[in-house]
Structure formats: structure tokens, C-alpha cells
């Protein structure tokens, strides 16, 4: 009962890869956007804020369809990527990572933004008066102080990426070994007669992976907190 089949193992490996790349590629963007939202004022900021949070409230199938329209081979962005670099996003694991990244983006930005807002700006000011350049201040003062929030954001986004289903199946469909992640594999198994055992097994694995991620984020955040305050 507990021994996963090869197909299920393939889904687990693929999910981990998709979630890793989803988080790795969106992290720098998320930090930049969190910075814009927390530290700057510009016209249309409220719009950017709304746009970032959109994937939390829009149906995932809508996100998937928009990705299909934009990043498909005939879409404006997908077409350009293919013509210029020969990169195909749609129907590949890269597309699955993109869908996961978009859906997890708000969670990541929120966590990072909160930690950025909690950074004591007097520490940055002190560093500036001591002659540090803006970029150095960010790298040596601000970023280390944000670490708990960044870690929390990364882990939340990783867990969310592991669970992405609606946008994924709409955008990159269900291809074994390429886009059949854990949730898509569970969906496939629930559609198959006598697939219930496998679906249950993968569901348990999904819950365990999510729990590990959440506990890890909590432990990491605590350790970092202890180092900063203590």
C-alpha cells in the first residue's frame, strides 16, 4: 500500500523539480516587487499591488488560460521566446513551473514585504552615515534582516507550487513525465477505475511534503530570529 509505483515516483520527482524552479526564478522578482510595494511611492502602485494579488482570487483556470494565450507558441510572449531562443514553454515542465510560479507569487511577495516593512530603517540610516553605499546597505543590512520573511515566503511558495493544479492542467495539460505533477497525477488516478488506492497514497505524500515544508519554514525562521535578536 505504501510503496509508490514508478508513475507516482515520476510525478513526485517532477513536482519537486517544478516547485524548485518555480521558486528559484520568481524569488528575485518577488524581492524587487516587495521592495517597490514597501519602500516606494509611485502612481499606479495600488494597481501593481492588485495585480500581484490577483492569482489569489482569480480562478486558477483563468490564470491557466491567460498563460495559454500569452505563452503559447502562437502567443505574443511564447511566440517571441520560440522565434528568438527556440524555447517552448507550453506543454513542457517549464510551463508547469511558470504556472506554479504565478500562482505562488502573491504568497511569496506578501511574506517578503512584511519582513521588509519590519526592518528598522534607523539601522540602514546608520550604515549610510558611516559611508556605505545604498546597494551595500541593502546587501549587508536590509537583506539579512529580511531573511526570516524571505525563507517563509520561499517555503510557502514551494508548498503552493507543489500543489498547483488548475492553471497547470489548463496551460500545459497532463503529459506523463513532463507536466503530470502530483496533483495532476492524483486527478488522473481519481478518473481511473480502481485508481483510488494510488490517489490516496499520492494525497498522503502531498500532505506530508506540505507539512515538512511548513515545519521547515517555521524552524528556519526561529533560528534566524534567534541569531538576529540574541
Amino acid at each position: 500500500m505504501l510503496q509508490p509505483t514508478d508513475l507516482e515516483l515520476e510525478a513526485i520527482r517532477l513536482s519537486l523539480r517544478v516547485a524548485f524552479w518555480s521558486v528559484a526564478c520568481s524569488l528575485p522578482v518577488a524581492i524587487a516587487v516587495a521592495w517597490l510595494l514597501a519602500r516606494t511611492r509611485f502612481p499606479g502602485k495600488i494597481l501593481l499591488d492588485g495585480l500581484v494579488h490577483l492569482p489569489l482570487v482569480v480562478p486558477p483556470v483563468v490564470v491557466g488560460f491567460l498563460l495559454l494565450v500569452l505563452f503559447g507558441r502562437r502567443g505574443p510572449i511564447g511566440g517571441w521566446l520560440y522565434d528568438t531562443f527556440g524555447i517552448t514553454i507550453i506543454f513542457t515542465w517549464k510551463g508547469a513551473a511558470l504556472a506554479a510560479a504565478v500562482m505562488a507569487f502573491p504568497l511569496m511577495v506578501r511574506a517578503i514585504r512584511l519582513s521588509l516593512e519590519a526592518v528598522d530603517r534607523r539601522l540602514e540610516a546608520a550604515a549610510r552615515t558611516l559611508g556605505a553605499r545604498r546597494f551595500d546597505v541593502f546587501m549587508t543590512i536590509t537583506l539579512p534582516l529580511m531573511t526570516p520573511g524571505i525563507l517563509a515566503g520561499v517555503v510557502l511558495a514551494f508548498a503552493r507550487s507543489l500543489g498547483e493544479f488548475g492553471a497547470t492542467i489548463t496551460f500545459v495539460s497532463n503529459i506523463p513525465g513532463e507536466t503530470r505533477t502530483i496533483p495532476v497525477a492524483i486527478y488522473t488516478l481519481t478518473q481511473t477505475p480502481d485508481g483510488d488506492v494510488g490517489a490516496l497514497r499520492l494525497s498522503i505524500i502531498a500532505v506530508i511534503l506540505a507539512l515538512i515544508a511548513l515545519v521547515a519554514s517555521e524552524l528556519l525562521a526561529r533560528r534566524v530570529n534567534a541569531r538576529i535578536t540574541g
Binding site: 495559454l68 494565450v69 503559447g72 507558441r73 502562437r74 507550453i90 506543454f91 492542467i169 489548463t170 495539460s173 497532463n174 503529459i175 488522473t188 481519481t190 478518473q191 481511473t192 477505475p193
Partner: protein
């Protein structure tokens, strides 16, 4: 909590209660139908409502999805599957009213391509389908479970094409999701029912699969055990009757079973 915010909260709660109560009051008839039936079934539902007989609510999805939902207690009164396998699945579990089961419709399986595509191929044993696709994808409903995909896989297998095109296969959620991939030109070709190809201007039929290449496409209908009240029976009779038959024919389905003709 201020008075205003309390009032707001109460209004929201009252609204929520109303939305929960609404479906119970209306007593809509819930019909589960294969995704390929969407347009035809919706027209039939509208005509039925216009005749004053009552309201019909549909849930369209892959037949496999719907069968699993019924197995898990979904309150459907009627189920129309796109193959006999999933109806058998429910029959084996004693979830349908046995003597209400009848084969309602037939359909044909076709290979489609985006309207502006130049793909041309005659579907026969050993046809160069994989070569024609090039690096393009072949979209079809999941060949392991969804009827349209299973018919498609059977047809490709009997034409000895499956193993060569399998790496190019993109598995869609249901037959209508397949249609979207081809309409948008993201898949070079797709396998859908003739009726699906007919409702879209953005795709064209490349060729029809020989009828002998796949199991006969049959849409059985049945009442769901325990949900077969008078309203369900009334709509069932309408569905197998001449008015509904006209709509199904307009959409390109064929009518099967002598029973349908006597109505």
C-alpha cells in the same frame, strides 16, 4: 465593534444564508452530461424550461469525472456518458435505475487541425501521422480514462499509429479542452468528436477515423438511483423524445436505438 460594522456583518451573514437556502427552494434538476454534449444539451434544457416544465441545471465534464462524482454521492438525477464503460461502472455499483438505461446517441471520431493549418492526411493503417505532425503536438482527451481519449487511442492502435505518435500526445482534461488547444493553434492536430469539430470555426476536419478502427461511440443515458423523482422522469422522457432528438441531429449526433423512434 461599531454599529456600522455590525450592520455590515449582519448583512453579509444574511446574504450568505440566502445563497445557501436558494438551491433547496428552487429544486433544480441536476443533469450530469459528457462534455461533448454541452451545446446540444444546453439548447434542449432551454427549450424544456421555455415549455414551463421546470428548470434544468447541467454539470458538464469528462464522463469519467462525472461517474466518479456520482459514485461519491453527487446529487445528479440523470447521467449521460460518452461511452458504455463508465455507465457500466455505475451499473456495477447499483447506482443507476437499471431499466431506465438506454443508448441515446451515436457520434463519429475525427482528426482536426487549426483552420489555417495545411495538415492533410488520410487516416489509414500505417499513415504517416507522426511525420505530418513534425514537432507539433497531438491533443486528445486522456487516453487512459476519458471516453474521447479512449476511442482515440483505440483508433490509433488499430491503425498501428499509436506508438509513433504517443510521444507527441498532449492529454487534455476532456474533449472540449482538446478543442481549445487546437483552436488556439497550440497543438498541430487533435482528436475530437465530429460534433465538437462542427461547433468551432477555428478548426477544420482533416479526416474521419474509419468506424471500424474504434469501438462504436455510444452515449447511454440513465436515471440515478434514489434521485429518480417525477421531475427527473419528466426530463428523461423529454430527452429521449422527438424534440430533443431534433436538436441532437442538428448538432450532428446520430440517434440510436429503436426506442427513440417510437417516442
Amino acid at each position: 465593534m461599531t454599529r456600522t460594522s455590525r450592520r455590515v456583518l449582519l448583512t453579509v451573514l444574511a446574504g450568505l444564508l440566502l445563497t445557501m437556502a436558494a438551491p433547496v427552494q428552487a429544486k433544480d434538476l441536476l443533469v450530469f452530461a459528457a462534455a461533448s454534449l454541452r451545446n446540444a444539451a444546453e439548447d434542449i434544457g432551454k427549450a424544456y424550461e421555455a415549455s414551463g416544465a421546470g428548470k434544468v441545471t447541467y454539470s458538464f465534464a469528462a464522463s469519467s469525472d462525472l461517474a466518479k462524482q456520482i459514485e461519491n454521492g453527487a446529487p445528479a438525477a440523470l447521467y449521460i456518458s460518452a461511452d458504455t464503460k463508465w455507465m457500466d461502472y455505475l451499473a456495477d455499483r447499483k447506482l443507476i435505475v437499471t431499466d431506465s438505461r438506454r443508448d441515446l446517441l451515436g457520434n463519429r471520431l475525427v482528426l482536426i487541425a487549426p483552420a489555417d493549418s495545411k495538415l492533410a492526411i488520410k487516416l489509414a493503417a500505417g499513415a504517416p501521422l507522426a511525420q505530418s505532425l513534425g514537432d507539433g503536438k497531438l491533443a486528445m482527451a486522456d487516453p487512459d480514462s476519458v471516453p474521447a481519449g479512449r476511442y482515440g487511442k483505440a483508433a490509433l492502435e488499430s491503425l498501428a499509429l499509436w506508438s509513433s505518435v504517443e510521444p507527441a500526445v498532449v492529454r487534455a482534461k476532456d474533449v472540449r479542452a482538446t478543442l481549445v488547444f487546437v483552436e488556439r493553434g497550440e497543438a498541430a492536430a487533435g482528436i475530437v468528436y465530429a460534433t465538437d469539430a462542427m461547433i468551432s470555426k477555428k478548426v477544420r476536419i482533416v479526416d474521419e477515423f474509419p468506424e471500424s478502427s474504434h469501438p462504436k461511440i455510444v452515449y447511454p443515458v440513465a436515471l440515478i438511483a434514489g434521485q429518480d423523482d417525477a421531475a427527473a422522469h419528466a426530463f428523461y422522457d423529454y430527452l429521449v423524445g422527438p424534440k430533443a432528438r431534433g436538436v441532437f441531429l442538428d448538432y450532428g449526433f446520430s440517434i440510436i436505438g429503436a426506442g427513440a423512434a417510437t417516442n
